[in-house]
C-alpha cells in the first residue's frame, strides 16, 4: 500500500514550471555524489535547518520484477526488512529509531522498493549500521515464523486497503485488464493472496539474494550532517559488502496495443455507481510525460478543470471527478474516475467524459488553461522540495529513473516547453476510445477476487 504514498510523492515531486517565472533564479538541490566500489550510489544533502537526519535506500525492485505465481514478494520484503537481521534482534531497529525521535517506513511500487529512516541527526551512524546489517544479513535470521507473521499482516493490509474499502478493488481490476498476463504491470504490488499463502522461505530468500545487492541500490543521506562524516561512515558500513551479479529480472517487451475497448463491470457494497476510464500512457521521464500530466490537470484536476465544470458544477450528474496521470518505468497510466449522483446512469458519465476527451484530442486547450496547469505544477514542485525527506526521495528518483542526478533543472524546462498543441497530441495519441479499459462498479455484492 504503498502505491498511494508513491503516487503522492511523485505527484508532488514530478511537477514543475511556470510561464512567468523565467526571470527568477531557480532553487537548486545541492548534493554530493560518490559511488562505492561495490556499485552502491551514494548522495549526501547537507541541510542544517533542523537537527534531523533522513536516510533513503532505494532498491531497483518492484512488483514487475516478480514472476507469475510468486506475486507480492517485493512488497512482502518491505515488511520482512523490519523483522530483524544478523545483529539486529526483531524490534530493535524501531526502538532505536523511535527512541531517537524518528521512524522507519517504506513503500513499494511496480518498479521500486524505497526504505526511509528518520532520526535525530546524532544517530547518523546508527541509521547506517541498521541498513548495512539489513542488506548484508537479513537472511541470517529469516525463518518461517517471520514469514508467516508478516504474511498475515500483509493479508490484513490487503483487507484494509482494498477489500474492506468502498470501490477498493478498482485499482487491482484495472491493472488486471490494462496489461496482458505476461507483463509485470498486470498484477498489483500487494500480490495475489494465493501467491502470498504459497510463498516458502527458500522462494523468498532467493528473491532477496537476487535483488538486495549494493549494485542495485541508491542511498541518499540528507539533513543536519557533515559530508565528511557521511562519507566516512558510508564507507565503513557499506563498502565491504561485496558487489554481486547484476540481478536477473524478467524483461518485458512493450505489449501489443489495445485496439478494442475493454468493458468491465463489477459490483461492490456501495450506494452509487462509479466509473473508471483507464489508458496505457507514457513512461516516467519520457518525452511525453509532461504533456500527459498537464492534460490530466486540464481535464480533471480540481474545480477549474473541464470535467469538474461540466459533470459536477453545471450538470450535477457526478458527485466527484478526477483525472490523473502516473508515470512508471516502462509505461504510465492515465485514468479518469467519476462517481455518479444517485439516479444517474453511469453510461451518461462515460459518454460525457468520452466527449471531453475527444474535444481535447482534436483541439488544443486555451492558453490560459495551460498557464493554470503549469503554475499549479510549479507550486506543487516547490512545495515538494520543502520537506527534506521528500527532496531526498526526489534526488534518488532522478538517479534511478532519469539516470541523471542533475535532472532538476531539466525537469523544470521540460514542463515549460509544453505547448497547447503538445497537450492535444498526447490526448490524441493515448486517450483513444478503442484503447481504453472502462470499469463500472455498481451497487451490489462486494467482490474481492483478483
Amino acid at each position: 500500500m504503498t502505491r498511494l504514498t508513491l503516487v503522492l510523492a511523485i505527484a508532488l515531486l514530478g511537477q514543475v514550471a511556470t510561464a512567468h517565472a523565467e526571470a527568477r533564479a531557480e532553487p537548486k538541490i545541492v548534493y554530493e555524489k560518490f559511488e562505492l566500489t561495490n556499485g552502491l550510489h551514494v548522495y549526501v544533502i547537507e541541510d542544517h535547518k533542523s537537527p534531523t537526519v533522513y536516510e533513503v535506500l532505494w532498491f531497483k525492485v518492484g512488483s514487475k520484477d516478480e514472476v507469475a505465481n510468486r506475486t507480492g514478494f517485493a512488497h512482502l520484503f518491505e515488511h520482512l526488512m523490519f523483522k530483524g537481521s544478523a545483529h539486529l534482534p526483531d524490534g530493535l531497529m524501531d526502538k532505536l529509531l523511535e527512541g531517537a525521535g524518528g521512524w522507519s517506513n517504506a513503500f513499494t511500487s511496480s518498479d521500486m522498493t524505497v526504505y526511509q529512516n528518520v532520526a535525530a541527526a546524532n544517530f547518523l551512524e546508527t541509521v547506517l549500521w541498521i541498513d548495512a546489517d539489513r542488506l548484508a544479513g537479513l537472511l541470517d535470521t529469516f525463518d518461517k515464523a517471520k514469514l508467516d507473521n508478516q504474511r498475515d499482516v500483509v493479508l490484513n493490509e490487503r483487507r484494509q486497503s482494498y477489500e474492506n474499502r468502498p470501490y477498493g478493488m478498482a485499482e487491482l481490476v484495472i491493472q488486471d485488464h490494462l496489461w496482458p498476463k505476461d507483463h509485470g504491470y498486470h498484477w498489483s504490488t500487494i500480490g495475489y493472496p494465493a501467491d502470498l499463502k504459497a510463498a516458502t522461505v527458500p522462494d523468498v530468500a532467493a528473491f532477496f539474494k537476487n535483488y538486495y545487492v549494493p549494485n542495485n541500490a541508491t542511498l541518499v543521506i540528507a539533513g543536519d550532517i557533515k559530508l565528511a562524516d557521511a562519507k566516512r561512515l558510508t564507507e565503513k558500513y557499506f563498502a565491504w559488502i561485496p558487489r554481486a551479479a547484476e540481478p536477473a529480472r524478467p524483461q518485458y517487451k512493450l505489449p501489443a496495443p489495445i485496439t478494442k475497448e475493454i468493458v468491465v463491470k463489477t459490483t461492490d457494497d456501495v450506494q452509487v455507481p462509479r466509473v473508471y476510464l483507464a489508458w496505457r500512457a507514457p513512461a516516467s521521464f519520457s518525452a511525453e510525460e509532461p504533456a500527459s500530466e498537464l492534460a490530466a490537470a486540464i481535464l480533471g484536476d480540481g474545480k477549474s478543470s473541464r470535467l469538474y465544470k461540466r459533470l459536477v458544477y453545471e450538470e450535477k450528474i457526478a458527485q466527484d471527478v478526477q483525472a490523473s496521470f502516473g508515470g512508471e518505468q516502462l509505461a504510465g497510466t492515465f485514468q479518469i474516475v467519476a462517481t455518479a449522483k444517485p439516479g444517474v446512469d453511469p453510461q451518461r458519465l462515460i459518454k460525457e467524459i468520452t466527449e471531453e476527451v475527444a474535444k481535447l484530442s482534436s483541439t488544443p486547450p486555451e492558453a490560459v488553461e495551460l498557464e493554470r496547469a503549469l503554475n499549479s505544477h510549479e507550486a506543487s514542485f516547490l512545495n515538494g522540495l520543502e520537506p527534506t525527506l521528500q527532496r531526498a526521495i526526489l534526488l534518488a528518483s532522478y538517479d534511478v529513473m532519469a539516470k541523471d542526478p542533475a535532472y532538476f533543472s531539466k525537469d523544470l524546462a521540460r514542463f515549460r516547453a509544453v505547448t497547447t498543441a503538445a497537450v492535444r497530441d498526447v490526448a490524441a495519441s493515448y486517450l483513444k476510445p478503442t484503447s481504453r479499459v472502462v470499469l463500472t462498479i455498481s451497487p451490489g455484492k462486494k467482490v474481492v477476487e483478483k
Binding site: E78, G84, D148, N156, R159, W240, P342, S376
Partner: protein, 489 residues
C-alpha cells in the same frame, strides 16, 4: 507500506541476536563489534522557531515566522467559535456548510473563477471546519503572495452566499451524507462520539452533520451563522515563509485588517456534555465485512489540563509509533491487523480519546480483549524505565519535525492561538516531557483512561463477531444502522 503503530518493551521480548558464524559475510568488514549499536554523537539543542507577534487594525492577531529558504509561504487563519461546536441544536453541519460556501463565489468573483484564479497564481486555499474553530489554510508562491492575500481576503470577508451555489453545494453534501453508510470508519467514530457526549450536543454530533437535519438548513441560517461567528477580533492569522513582516502587515491592514463586520457575537464557551456510562457495546452490523472497525474510547482531557505531558507519554507508549504496545501486540505478535493506534482529540473542553484499529473478522473478540488487557496493564504496572525513556525521547526528539515545513510551522502556532497558549510554549515542551515519571504515567492511565469507563464501538459482521463480543462481559449492546443511527431492538 508497513507503517502502523505499537510497542512492547517487556523484558524478555527481545529475540537474542544470532551470533555471526565463522564464515559470516560480516567477517569481510573491518568492524569487530557489529552486534553493538553505534553510540550517538553529541546531541544538538533544538530551538523552535520564534514568531513575531503583531496586530492588525481590527484587532486580528498576526504571527509571522520568517523562512527564506524557498520562495513560498503558508498561512493559517484560525477562526475560534466558528467550528461545529457552535452548531445550533438540530442544525448539525451548519458551521461546516457555512465555511464550505465561503469560496463558492466572493468579492465579485464566481465560484469557478475563484478556483481558476488560485491555479493561475500557483496558490491553494483550503477551508476546514474543526470542532472548536474553522481554519483557512493558504499555500502560495512568494511572488504571488499579494494577489493570494487579496483572494483569501475576498473569500473570508465578502462571501457571496449565492442561492444557486447554496443549492448546489447542499445537494453535494446531502449526497455525501447519503453515501455515509459506505464509509464504516467514519460511522464507527460517529457512533462513539454520540455515545460519549450525546448525539445532538456540541461535541457529540458529526462536524458534517446528519442527513435529515442537514436537508433542512437554509441560506438565511448560513448567513446568520457567518455573521455571528466569523469575527476578526478573535481570529489569529499565522504566516510562515518567504515574507517581510512589515510589508505583510501593511498589505494585510488594507484588506483583512480593515474588515470590521457588525453583528458578531462573543464566543460562547463550549458546553461539553459527557454522558453517564450507558450501554458499553455500540454495534453496527455490516454483513460480509472482511475486518471489524473498532473504536474503544472515552472522554479524555482538555488541552490545558496540567497532566497533558504525562498523558502524551502514556499515549505514545500505548499507541503512537511502531513500537507502541498496541501495534506490537495486535499486529506484530498476533498478526490480526494492519495497524492500531491511540489518539486524543485535544480540544478546549475534554474531547475524545480513542483506540482505533481494524481487526480481521474472526479475531475481533480476541483483539478487543487484548486492547482491554493492554489498558489495564498500563493502569496497574509501572512502564519499565527503558520503554518510558524511549517514549519520552520519541516525543522530544521529534519536536523539530513539527517545524519541517512552513505549513507544519503554521499549524503549530495556530494550535497555540486556538488554545490560548503562549507563543514561547514549544521552548519549554521538552522540559515538560522530561519531568514525566513512570508513576505519573500509571496514575494518569488509571485516572484518565480506565478500561472500565470505555465505550466499545464495533462495525463489522455481527453474525461472525457477536458471540465473542458478548463474552467480554460488557453487558447489553446498543445497535445502530449502517449510518450509525440507533435502531429499535
Amino acid at each position: 507500506m508497513r507503517r502502523a503503530i505499537l510497542g512492547s518493551f517487556l523484558a524478555g521480548s527481545l529475540v537474542a541476536a544470532t551470533p555471526a558464524t565463522a564464515d559470516s559475510v560480516f567477517d569481510k568488514s573491518a568492524i569487530t563489534d557489529w552486534a553493538k549499536p553505534p553510540a550517538p554523537t553529541k546531541e544538538a539543542t533544538f530551538k523552535p522557531p520564534v514568531g513575531k507577534r503583531l496586530q492588525l487594525n481590527n484587532g486580528m492577531a498576526l504571527v509571522v515566522v520568517e523562512n527564506h529558504k524557498l520562495p513560498i509561504a503558508s498561512m493559517m487563519l484560525v477562526a475560534p467559535g466558528a467550528g461545529a461546536a457552535a452548531d445550533p441544536a438540530g442544525k448539525g453541519g451548519l458551521a461546516a456548510f457555512t465555511a464550505d460556501l465561503l469560496d463558492e463565489g466572493a468579492g465579485g468573483i464566481s465560484a469557478l473563477g475563484l478556483a481558476e484564479e488560485q491555479d493561475r497564481l500557483g496558490a491553494s486555499i483550503g477551508i476546514a471546519t474543526d470542532v472548536d474553530a474553522a481554519i483557512v489554510s493558504v499555500s502560495t508562491l512568494s511572488k504571488t503572495l499579494d494577489p493570494a492575500i487579496d483572494l483569501v481576503t475576498k473569500i473570508v470577508t465578502t462571501p457571496a452566499f449565492d442561492r444557486k451555489e447554496f443549492e448546489r453545494v447542499r445537494g453535494d453534501r446531502v449526497t455525501s451524507l447519503d453515501l455515509r453508510r459506505d464509509r464504516p470508519r467514519e460511522v464507527a467514530s460517529l457512533v462513539l462520539d454520540a455515545a460519549l457526549f450525546g448525539a445532538t450536543t456540541a461535541y457529540g454530533h458529526p462536524i458534517s452533520g446528519i442527513r435529515d437535519e442537514f436537508k433542512t438548513l437554509t441560506l438565511d441560517e448560513v448567513q446568520a451563522f457567518y455573521k455571528a461567528h466569523w469575527n476578526p477580533a478573535v481570529m489569529t492569522l499565522v504566516v510562515v515563509g518567504d515574507v517581510d513582516p512589515g510589508a505583510l502587515k501593511h498589505k494585510l491592514d488594507a484588506g483583512l485588517g480593515a474588515w470590521k463586520p457588525a453583528g458578531t457575537k462573543p464566543i460562547a464557551k463550549v458546553v461539553a456534555t459527557p454522558q453517564k456510562l450507558g450501554k458499553r457495546l455500540q454495534l453496527v452490523d455490516r454483513p460480509a465485512a472482511a475486518q471489524s472497525d473498532v473504536r474503544v474510547g472515552l472522554v479524555g482531557l482538555d488541552r490545558k489540563d496540567r497532566r497533558y505531558f504525562a498523558f502524551e507519554v502514556l499515549r505514545t507508549t500505548l499507541g503512537d509509533g511502531f513500537t507502541s504496545r498496541l501495534t506490537q501486540k495486535l499486529r506484530e505478535e498476533m498478526g490480526i491487523t494492519y495497524g492500531a493506534n491511540a489518539t486524543m482529540d485535544w480540544r478546549l473542553q475534554p474531547g475524545t480519546f480513542v483506540v482505533a484499529t481494524a481487526i480481521q473478522t474472526p479475531d475481533t473478540g480476541r483483539g478487543v480483549a487484548e486492547i482491554v488487557k493492554i489498558l489495564d496493564d498500563l493502569a496497574t504496572t509501572d512502564v519499565p524505565a527503558a520503554e518510558l525513556e524511549k517514549s519520552k525521547q520519541n516525543i522530544i526528539r521529534a519536536l523539530p519535525a513539527m517545524f519541517d515545513t512552513n505549513a507544519a510551522t503554521a499549524r503549530a502556532f495556530a494550535e497555540l492561538a486556538l488554545h490560548h497558549l503562549p507563543d514561547t510554549y514549544y521552548a519549554s515542551y521538552a522540559a515538560g516531557i522530561r519531568r514525566v515519571s513512570a508513576k505519573d504515567v500509571k496514575s494518569i492511565a488509571n485516572a484518565a483512561i480506565p478500561s472500565s469507563k470505555m465505550v466499545f464501538t464495533i462495525v463489522g459482521d455481527m453474525s461472525k463477531v457477536r458471540a465473542d463480543l458478548d463474552k467480554l462481559g460488557l453487558g447489553d449492546a446498543a445497535m445502530h444502522d449502517l449510518y450509525g443511527m440507533p435502531v429499535a431492538k
